[in-house]
Amino acid sequence: MAGAGAVRAIRDRIRSVESTSKVTKAMELVAASKMRRAQDRALSSRPYADQMRSVLAQLAGYAASADPDTLHPLLRQRPVRHFAFIHITADRGLAGGLNANMNRAGAVLALEHQPRVERVSVVTVGRKGRDFFRRAGFPSLAEFTELGDYPGMDKILPIARIVMDDYMRGEIDQVYLGYQRFVNTAVQRPTLRQVLPVTAPEGAAAGSVDFLFEPSPERLLETLLPRYVEMQILEAVLDAAASEQSARMVAMRAATDAAQEMVADLTLTYNKARQELITNELLDIVGGVAALDS
């Protein structure tokens, strides 16, 4: 009987949606706990970043007054022939529009620069961005994946090394950094900023204190600048990690809510169909009895 088949089909569908919602619920909970840790990590690196910015602002004041020829190479502006950018995405999806939005921002950045320079290439961090630029056949300087949920400085150093080495050798002339900045749990914003040449942070009262430099401002810059670049990349990667978990948590919560709504709707339909089936069967029996009686 067609009615019974339809009822069974609805019941199976309810089961399948229910089990999907269990999976998305579990993913939501996992993402929520990872998000907290990722946020803590991002926050606990902030004092270092702030302090380093203020130190660099102080030092850069002295560097700016120096002869441009003796300026540290990482600070020196030069005509841009080869533009590169570090593109940070997640390794995994199921995070709403997070990766797609980042990839779009990266593509726009690349297309904007292409007419103005001889070459544009990308350093991808994360599988989603790597796959995106590979599919587009875009030239890549390096690819990094599997930094983990809570990346540390050890994962950042090779990335920083590559761009700084290429920059010092004159193979690339400008480097940008693109990542999903963590604004809050609901909002992540694709953010692009220049990392090379280093633009000194706006001076927190630069030059207001007469510092004694040990060994010398130039030597200090020499050690500080690479660390500043590393720190900026670390900050971006930590922010991107917090963004990834937040976006996934929100996406999975939406999926769970949608699944539960669907289960409620289907249950209603199922009950209606089941009642109809019973009514029909009763009518058949009653009809049969009436036929026998007559």
Binding site: P47, Y48, M52, E214
Partner: protein, 148 residues
């Protein structure tokens, strides 16, 4: 007026005190002592012990490279790595030293200069950690002669 001190690494804030009387830092060219009203200073740091003297308490730390900024009785240490004596894992540091010294002893004969440098730095780091750990917890500070 006491000094206020902040020791941070890229990953965390290691120490934050507002009652520091005296502080000995491993600057790149040797140890320097910082007392209240010290002149404004920026310096790079080497590998070594950071000694923080507070009222009734002396805190020892291993600092492995970084920067120091002193201004208006506020001292900031931007360390590449820093650990308080009580956080240092002695067995791990011991093992790291042994490993580095074995490497230096020529098990990797004909190794690249870079690798030799790397092993030497690893040995140095391990020794700093051991020295700090043993000075504050347990006995027997490894001598400087043990240095690779």
């Amino acid at each position: 007026m006491p000094l206020s001190l902040t020791v941070v690494t890229a990953e965390r804030t290691v120490l934050q005190r507002d009652d520091v009387l005296r502080l000995i830092v491993p600057a790149a060219d040797g140890q320097i002592t910082i007392l209240p009203s010290h002149t404004a200073l920026m310096s790079s740091l080497g590998f070594g012990e950071l000694t923080v003297v507070c009222p009734g308490e002396t805190i020892g730390m291993a600092v492995l490279g970084g920067f120091l900024q002193v201004a208006n009785d506020r001292v900031t240490v931007l360390a590449d790595a820093a650990e308080r004596a009580d956080e240092i894992n002695e067995e791990r540091a011991d093992a790291a030293r042994d490993r580095a010294q074995r490497r230096l002893a020529g098990q990797y004969a004909g190794a690249e200069a870079l690798n030799v440098l790397r092993a030497r730095l690893a040995a140095e780091r391990a020794l700093v950690r051991l020295r700090v750990r043993r000075r504050y917890h347990g006995t027997g500070v490894p001598s400087l002669r043990e240095r690779a």
